[in-house]
Symmetry: none
Subunit: 203 residues, 4 copies
């Protein structure tokens, strides 16, 4: 095999391993993930895993991190040319919707989230806006709103985190409590937005 083909094959195998690990976590939970199962599902022998990942924990870390990234990517982007409050509404809505569309996935990854990953997703700290695109987008909407006189001037960093936490709180509970009807869900989302927006509205 040529160098190039070899390398390509190598990268391919690496991602097949990762995807298989993700699949197992999603389908059967993190405790069901075993090196042998991953290997067997890609029709290789177990030790091959160790050629691409230091050990089981390393593989798990990578799988969860990547899985989390995928999920966040699945949040529908906000359409352009919206008013700031509409931006907030839409982004809140999209986030909840995407949670509902991949509930199983969220459940697995959000619940299984391990401490090593927390830095990655930290939001409250000063650098949160750098690490979380969602937070950054909320901040930008708030700033536009304040500039446009829609929202009261305020500490945007703090306020964005309030918004984010409320969103996260509902989001998390919606994942955990799967027996909520669609109507109830919509009403909860609506009411969240109403309270939050009125809480910062200029009028």
């Amino acid at each position: 095999m040529s160098r190039v083909r070899q390398q390509r094959h190598s990268e391919e195998l690496r991602s097949r391993i990762l995807e298989t690990a993700q699949k197992i976590i999603l389908e059967d939970g993190i405790n069901a993930l075993s090196v042998r199962r991953v290997a067997s599902e890609i029709d290789y022998a177990a030790p091959v895993i160790y050629q691409y990942y230091r050990n089981k924990n390393h593989l798990i870390s990578c799988a969860i991190q990547e899985g989390y990234r995928k999920i966040l990517e699945s949040v529908e982007p906000i359409p352009p040319n919206l008013s700031p409050d509409e931006e907030l509404r839409i982004s809140f809505k999209h986030f909840m919707d995407s949670a509902m569309q991949v509930p199983k996935a969220y459940k697995a990854f959000v619940l299984q989230i391990s401490s090593e990953l927390l830095a990655e997703t930290s939001v409250l700290g000063k650098d949160g806006s750098k690490k979380s695109p969602t937070l950054a987008s909320i901040i930008s909407s708030l700033e536009s709103g304040i500039d446009a006189g829609l929202f009261l001037p305020c500490n945007v960093q703090l306020t964005a985190r309030v918004y984010w936490c409320a969103m996260f709180g509902l989001f998390f509970r919606l994942i955990l409590e799967t027996d909520i009807s669609a109507e109830e869900r919509e009403a909860l989302i609506q009411r969240h937005l109403d309270v939050l927006l009125r809480g910062i509205s200029a009028h």
Copy 2:
């Protein structure tokens, strides 16, 4: 040993087992809990566990449930004769404080919360107020506030859940992100309350 002493000893052992299980979950996570380890930490043989708990799952369930209960008990009660908005402020504050006081505990129990316990702690559904005393207390504060003309009339059930989720969201993030400074924390809590209360205020 007399009957009575015997029985006392028995109950003691039962709770020593439970506490040990909790300790292990807190310190090393739920995957570190093994029947043997529990037994060895109380200097008994492994099978003794099965005299007090049907099996490992049973023990885990009891440990988590009890742990959760402990945590909730640690939330400082609201003093009487407060105005409704102060009630909300204080209860929010107390909740966050207690989260900070047992941060490790929360982390373990909140994260490890298993599906069997979700019913126990469900909040969003119609019966949430029956199951969650916190939710019930929020509802009552809201009602008083509306009656008193402090808050705008609204769907109290929904609004209480908004409040609860926001609280839970912040609470959860505070647990996860332990490197937040006290000042940042206080500011976040303040801002949460300001936004949320302004969101329902009558003025």
Copy 3:
């Protein structure tokens, strides 16, 4: 409790234990029998077993022995005033029938038969006729038949054992091979009798 009542109770308990052990062996096989299960099924604590039986093996022995006895008792008795060859036919038939009526029971006890019980059921040796009523009955039928000129004179002890073994062989196979149709079974029994009787017939 009076001495007498006490003793009666004691004997009762002893047999309840025995019957329970038999039931378990019949229903779930000998490997399913455990001291605790026996005790729990009679609503007593495990150690009580040891007051009536030396240990688990002792209990098993007694249970199997008694079970075997019961089964043999269930063989329908031969009606009086039959000709010797009819006696043999009928007893053979009854034996097979009873095997079929309690197939599960036979299977368990016959298969589980342990070496300690072999003396009890020995047939081939010189004292077989004393220990096995079936063998004794075959011998008596043979003797009558020879006296009546129906059967050729012969070593009755040996011939009875031949008859018994053939019977046992078919019986055992019928127990093991449960998918034999009723017709096939009847034909096999018939043919056995025909060959065996012709083998000793005087004509």
Copy 4:
């Protein structure tokens, strides 16, 4: 180690496991067989067993099946050019002899025979002659004998099974009752043959 040596070693280990399992069953009964004991007796770690056998049951199955095969192979073949009745006599005799030569083995395997193996050794059913070479050989002897006018025409299938069951019955009892003297045994075998052959004889 070369590929070839490796593979040879592997096969060797596989059969060492099997033989050890057989030995344990023979010596101490099937209940004494444990994965750990097998492993320890071949000086390997326990999990190695699972590399060669799916689980304990699989190992047991293989051991018994193989043991049974060995025993049957040890039955001396019938010499050629015998008259049909001599064939029956000789085969009956050989069978009994081989039972006597490996009495312990028979005892274990015949008694421990499990239901999964019964299909393998079924005799009474229509396909018995296909599955049991012994039965097939009896049938062939009977047919020759009838053709030669030695035996009365009859249902050969049924009659062969009668013969087989009688043989099995004696065989089984001889295994169980080990205190029979050689003379008694010979007499029993003789008498069996006399009765059975006279039962089908043409004269």
